[in-house]
Amino acid sequence: MTPDLSTDLGFLKLRNPILAASGTFGYGLEFTQFMSLAAVGGIVVKGLYYGPREGNPPPRLVETAGGLINAIGLQGVGVEAFAADVLPKLRAAEATVIANVCGADDDEYVRVIEFLDRQEGLAAYELNISCPNVRRNGLCPALRPETTRDLVARCKAASRRPIIAKLSPNVTDIAEIAAAAEAGGADAVSLINTLLSLAIDARTRRPRLANVLGGLSGPAVKPIALRMVYQAAAAVRIPVIGLGGITSGEDAAEFLIAGARAVEVGTANFVDPTATVRIARELSEFCAREGIARSADLVGTLGKGGHGTLAR
């Protein structure tokens, strides 16, 4: 029996619950030499501002223990070039495409959405309200419930497509932020974006990143991501999309168990360009091995703690 990996987010049906995370999968086209884009649940393309963006000066990356700090600063082609040059190819590749929407201010988010709303071939928008690499000191709308709710509400009102609010882990109370996104009308939340971080070169006594601060991703952050997904899933009724450090099918299963309906794979794509399809396959194998007919049956099934507990 082949396990059924099909995933229903309510507003969107996916072949399987494995999506490629924004900023780690380019515009998708870089990966067509390695894999079929139709083999994964979907791809979230690199963050899009309205116009083309320079991004931050290099160095933009630092490798850390089990992790990666980046301060790319959302270099990108802008929506017009994306619609003209990229989207037709993605449509041809039969990819389920989610656009990652950015803005220097609230108005820009809306302008990006209004432009993309006129294009075909997009399944949803993921609002990147949580990028720590653009404003000073890692500030972003997803740090406060009010700014989260208001921005989501504006985008939702402007959009003909479903809205996924991508949340920041750099907060005291993720449940509160997730609830604010829901209150603003988000169709789903995805989390986590990267953790605001600093790396220093002790010899030069300078930051390793030109941007000083950057965002930490990769296996190092998985335990934090899993906790936040668990807390967010308990706080909202809309679907939760989980990510942060997923490198294997079993990692993906853990996020489903914690309450995510789908997951995104980020940094792992850099090490293994076919990580998304491999993880989908491994998830299928995991389900088969454990006798789970549908991967959806895993969602939100975390049992009680206390194995190892004695009866007292």
Partner: protein
């Protein structure tokens, strides 16, 4: 461009902190061109997390050689690999050197500094096969930094060396050797790989002599195939300079396209 998760190490040689590995990887080798590189997994666990970029040093039938210097943790782990073990590699990556022009009877000078010599062996052979008259200039701090000098000569490639400390060849930087070489006979094309200051100086010399030069850049690489936007450098293509991906648009660029870093 392929992933070969288990390329067998058929040969390992080492000199101090320099190591050469020959990898059996027919599918990757079949697509390889000089100036391209591999992304190599240096460990089996999640630390180090990322692959490391290493140039193609030679192609021998279905095998590829890499030649590298221990620069840090990742290359130190790679240096521990032994014959018979396997390596997980991704490649060939990047565009490599532009060898479209007709090199027949043309004089090509290849300038390598330290580990930057790595891609020039493969390149030198290929240029010779295209009928070029090849001269290799190889510089290092000291004699011990020139471990593959005899390999070039043994292969019939004309090579001259320079060491900063004068322990072998011409004393001084390899750029001094380049200037002398140009004074002797102006090359038709320059190919340069080495530390940034050396490449920058070589680019200056090339510009002054109006010699077309191709420069192979290094950069910190997250992925090696264009997905992370981590490897950018300022490249000018009639646009005043933009951050371009070294892995995808390079690593080799015409010298004139490179905007060198302000601070050195």
């Amino acid at each position: 461009m392929r992933q070969e998760p288990a390329a067998r190490i058929a040969l390992r040689q080492s000199w101090d902190d320099y190591v050469l590995l020959r990898l059996e990887a027919p599918d990757v080798a079949a697509e390889a061109r000089p100036g391209q590189f591999l992304m190599v997994r240096v460990g089996e666990t999640l630390d180090p997390l990322l692959r490391r970029p290493i140039s193609l040093h030679a192609r021998e039938g279905g095998s590829l050689e890499i030649f590298f210097q221990v620069a840090g943790r990742g290359t130190a782990l790679l240096a521990e690999k032994e014959e018979g073990e396997t390596l997980d590699i991704l490649g060939p990556l990047g565009r490599g050197f532009d060898l479209e022009a007709d090199f027949h009877g043309r004089r090509a000078v290849l300038v390598g500094g330290g580990r930057g010599i790595a891609p020039l062996f493969y390149l030198g052979r290929e240029l010779r096969a295209k009928g070029a008259d090849v001269k290799v200039l190889y510089g290092g701090r000291s004699l011990r930094d020139l471990p593959v000098r005899d390999k070039f000569a043994a292969d019939g490639l004309d090579i001259a060396c320079a060491t900063d400390d004068g322990s072998f060849g011409r004393p001084g930087f390899v750029t001094g050797l380049l200037e002398a070489e140009i004074a002797r006979r102006a090359p038709d094309a320059l190919f340069v790989c080495g530390p940034d200051p050396m490449m920058r100086a070589a680019a200056g010399i090339a510009a002054a002599g109006r010699i077309p030069a191709q420069i192979s850049l290094e950069s910190l690489m997250g992925c090696g195939f264009g997905a992370c936007w981590g490897c950018v450098k300022r490249i000018v293509r009639g646009d005043g300079g933009r951050w371009r991906k070294i892995c995808e648009d390079g690593p080799v660029f015409p010298a004139g396209e490179i905007l060198w870093e302000g601070a050195e």
